[in-house]
Amino acid sequence: MSFSATTQINGKTAIISIAGELDAASAPAFRQEIEQAAAANPEHLVLEMSELEYMASAGLRVLIFAKQKMGVNVDVYVVAAQEMVLETLEKTGFDQSVIIADRYDTAVTA
């Protein structure tokens, strides 16, 4: 399945839903969505990943870019990531810098 990303801005929250396969060929499209979302100066960045089947290090580099572009005070939520995507985030220590959650609403109120 090819990669797709859609962005929705709700007040101070930017929600980007990413789906398909995120590799070096598709990472620029993801980065573009991040740049667009950053322009709205959100306080929360929610990455909805339930349909993301694959993520290479090119995707990890976009997450680094997001954190560095939006600033350390922006909370990044990784929501509903599939098992192997989650394993990559854990193995590389990214789970220490983002908030991993099954659902965004419960993550915020928890």
Binding site: E21, Q68, K91
Partner: protein, 146 residues
């Protein structure tokens, strides 16, 4: 042995991935092992394309092949780009993996995931060609039970 030749361009990542997924299915690798092998091959192929060919201003092909025996699946990536040994790139250290993202360097993650993702990874330079070799043992589940 099966093999496939593709141009050293980012568009080729998809056929390379499909090749690995098909080979993994043929030898019955479990879902996790198959994903990690695909990731490993994808990361090294990306480096060959971006650094070996594009950044060096060269064009060329990547040949991917699969060799199967009773014990393992071996995937080989072969290219004639500039000399590039992933094992000689700066190894990512544990301290770097614990650093907050805001302070992270961009490099090194792909090679780290590649080496971690397979049972054995090795690099060979043969004449003007780079060979990156990935080995994954078959029947991992039964071995883990012993």
């Amino acid at each position: 042995m099966q093999s496939l030749t593709v141009p050293g361009k980012l568009d080729s990542l998809k056929p390379i991935a499909d090749f690995v997924i098909t080979a993994s299915a043929q030898v019955g690798l479990d879902k996790k092992a198959a994903y990690k092998l695909r990731l490993a091959v994808d990361e090294i192929a990306t480096n060959i394309i971006l650094y070996g060919y594009e950044e060096a201003g060269c064009e060329g092909d990547i040949i991917i092949s699969a060799v199967v025996d009773d014990q393992q699946l071996e995937i080989v990536l072969e290219d004639d780009a500039i000399l590039y040994d992933p094992q000689q790139t700066q190894a990512i250290e544990t301290a770097e993996l614990q650093r907050p993202l805001a302070e992270r360097q961009m490099g090194g993650l792909g090679v780290y995931l590649a080496i971690q993702g397979v049972d054995q990874f090795r690099y060979e330079r043969a004449g003007n060609r780079n060979r990156n070799i990935f080995n994954v043992k078959r029947a991992r589940a039964s071995r883990d039970c012993i």
